[in-house]
């Protein structure tokens, strides 16, 4: 006997609602993709990559100078920190694996968008910022390649693959660190790579496996590379040999790069502890427990360390002993590295109404805020 229509019709709306609910609650048909805003400055203008646009913001007033693209385009979104190039260039990588070169005075497109890799506009992203070295721009991509492109037109020079036959899709999230004619690159595939800039080949016989993902760049301190990993440690390696000099255990994973000032390295972990350790031997000098996780690299200038936390806290502390200088609370998450620009401290927000705030570094007084027009 066929089912009677009444119960069938009674159930149908519920099932449709269920389907919609699951799809909506889960964030759509595929994994959500988003990142932190990227931030750079040339001393007069702040360049903020935040979703649909690159915003050029006057450092003195907080006024918008230009935005790129002028109108939001569905195919492009930007999160990687822009990088300054020669002749007023501003190079930006986007979230669909393309490279754009802009005139940083007016936001006009100079060349691009140039697709990275062979599959162009796809699910791969540029998350870590590009780096300019001489005539090259180096671009890390989540497709597992570091791309070297000519600064003049974005044409390919070489590409460096992550190790293994099938590298993890999410391999490179961080900008490479440059030291002369070599680049050092941390990867989500747990490896740290050393690359010869002339040839694009590995300098070490094999990449160093640090048993934990690296989401941010290594910091260079003399002959040492300092890098934080998701396996709850900060590791120091010889830049020439790749051999581990020391490691410092943390309570939680380390996302952001350490910032080095003098003989100390400052970094935070995702549990919210800010550490100051000796660069020479990894000995702890002080630690400070904050209320929210720390994903961003601290900024250090003029004897103060500036740290931001996931729950919206901005703190200025004495770099020598962690004594408080000033503190502020912002709406939204603070995941982007705070940036020192003259006597300003620039702080970008994720998920807040205000996109960028400028603070007086000495007093903590707020100078201006920028919201999307």
């Amino acid at each position: 006997m066929p089912p009677s229509p009444a119960p069938m019709l009674r159930i149908l709306p519920g099932l449709i609602a269920l389907a919609l609910l699951l799809t909506a609650c889960a964030g759509g048909a595929v994994r959500a993709a988003s990142s932190f805003p990227g931030l750079a400055s040339d001393g007069e203008t702040a360049f903020l990559a935040d979703g649909p646009a690159i915003y050029a913001i006057d450092l003195g007033s907080g006024a918008l100078r230009w935005r790129y693209p002028a109108e939001a385009q569905r195919e492009f979104s930007f999160f990687a920190p822009p990088v300054l190039g020669p002749e007023d260039q501003l190079i930006v990588g986007d979230f669909t694996n393309h490279l754009h070169a802009l005139d940083r005075r007016n936001g006009n497109l100079l060349w691009g968008p140039v697709a990275l890799g062979t599959n162009g506009a796809n699910k791969e992203h540029v998350i870590g910022g590009p780096v300019v070295v001489g005539e090259l721009v180096l671009v890390p991509s989540t497709d597992g390649y570091l791309y070297a492109r000519r600064i003049g037109d974005g044409s390919p020079v070489w590409s460096f693959p992550a190790e293994g036959e099938t590298p993890l899709r999410e391999a490179f999230w961080a900008a490479p660190t440059i030291d002369g004619d070599r680049a050092f690159l941390g990867s989500l595939d747990h490896h740290l790579y050393a690359i010869d800039l002339a040839s694009g080949r590995s300098l070490w016989p094999e990449a160093v496996d640090l048993s934990g993902a690296m989401a941010d760049s290594p910091a260079l301190a003399g002959d040492l590379l300092l890098v934080g990993t998701f396996s709850n440690q900060l590791v120091a390696l010889g830049a020439n040999s790749g051999e581990v000099a020391w490691s410092f255990p943390t309570a939680h994973g380390v996302w952001g790069s350490p910032s080095v000032a003098g003989d100390l390295a400052y970094f935070g972990d995702l549990g919210g502890t800010l550490y100051a350790v000796s660069v020479e031997n990894g000995r702890e000098v002080w630690r400070l427990q904050t209320a929210g996780g720390i994903a961003a690299s601290p900024a250090v200038a003029d004897g103060q360390v500036y740290v931001v936390t996931e729950n919206g806290s901005l703190m200025a502390r004495q770099a020598s002993n962690s004594d408080p200088a000033w503190q502020a609370t912002l709406e939204g998450q603070l995941l982007t590295d705070p940036l020192v620009a003259g006597d300003n401290l620039l702080v970008a927000t994720t998920g807040g109404t205000v996109l960028l705030s400028a603070y007086d570094r000495a007093s903590g007084a707020i100078r201006w805020t920028f919201t999307a027009p």
Partner: protein, 269 residues
């Protein structure tokens, strides 16, 4: 509450199994295997509920033949409300839940929601979702397993599954590939409901069960088509296990599959 009771235990169970299979045993496709092992565990945990539900359905079938039930149908055939009231009394007296046919499927709902949330979080491929995901991980789980390898056979378990064939790339509806897993989910869900869910055609509960037998394959097929394939893998394995489980309990009639509208449930005793 949802995170504490459902989501976080699911995420960490998956991570624990993934770590065991992938890092400790060195197996390829560890996240897919983790989902399969997780599905088996869920089936084992919900086994008492499934068995109880099956027994309740058997009682329901027996009730269809009961003289008191038949008399009620005749006596109140023109008074639906009264019939319903009397039926409910009879159900209560005999310890029957009239909606028991739906129960095995309904108890899957929190598992489906939780597992889907766990899969998309575990396979985060950009910074903000990965940072959010890290907050769900228990301290006893090693974070060195991040990021998880989402590949399993031809699938990316964080994306909807498609079997890509070059010669189909010119066709408008199959340019992205054939949704093999979604088709398999529809077929196995249909078989599973047909083989293991008896219905009482004249009762409201029976009608509901029959409606579920039609809608569930379509609904799960839609999920498998449009959501992360890790969830579709769960549906497929769960269906297979349900059929095996019912067969082990001797509650399916394989021969009656094609010839009868509903599965025959063996009467107790």
């Amino acid at each position: 509450m949802w995170n504490t009771v459902i989501l976080d235990p699911m995420i960490n169970s998956l991570l624990f199994i993934y770590d065991l299979l992938g890092r400790q045993l060195g197996l390829a496709g560890a996240f897919g295997l983790a989902i399969i092992v997780f599905t088996i565990l869920i089936r084992l945990i919900t086994l008492p509920l499934t068995v109880g539900s099956q027994q309740s359905m058997q009682k329901m079938q027996a009730l269809q033949q009961d003289e008191r039930y038949i008399k009620l149908q005749k006596k109140y055939k023109d008074n639906k409300q009264k019939l319903q009231e009397e039926q409910l009394k009879l159900y209560k007296e005999m310890g029957i839940n009239p909606l028991s046919g739906c129960l095995p499927q309904l108890i899957q709902l929190p598992v489906i929601f939780g597992l889907y949330g766990a899969i998309i979080r575990a396979l985060s491929d950009s910074p903000v979702p990965l940072l959010e995901f890290s907050k769900h991980i228990y301290s006893s789980i090693s974070t060195s397993i991040i990021p998880l390898d989402s590949r399993f056979l031809w699938m990316d378990l964080g994306q909807p599954e498609r079997w890509r064939l070059d010669f189909l790339s010119g066709l408008p509806f199959l340019a992205d590939g054939i949704p093999v897993l979604a088709i398999v989910v529809v077929i196995t869900t249909y078989l599973q409901t047909k083989l293991t869910t008896p219905t009482a055609p004249t009762s409201q509960g029976g009608g509901m069960t029959q409606a579920m037998n039609i809608y569930m394959p379509l609904l799960l097929g839609y999920f498998a088509y449009s959501l992360a394939s890790g969830l579709a893998l769960y549906f497929f394995i769960s269906n297979l296990l349900a059929i095996v489980q019912a067969a082990a309990m001797k509650r399916v009639d394989w021969r009656g599959l094609l010839s009868r509208a509903t599965a025959v449930v063996k009467r107790p005793g």
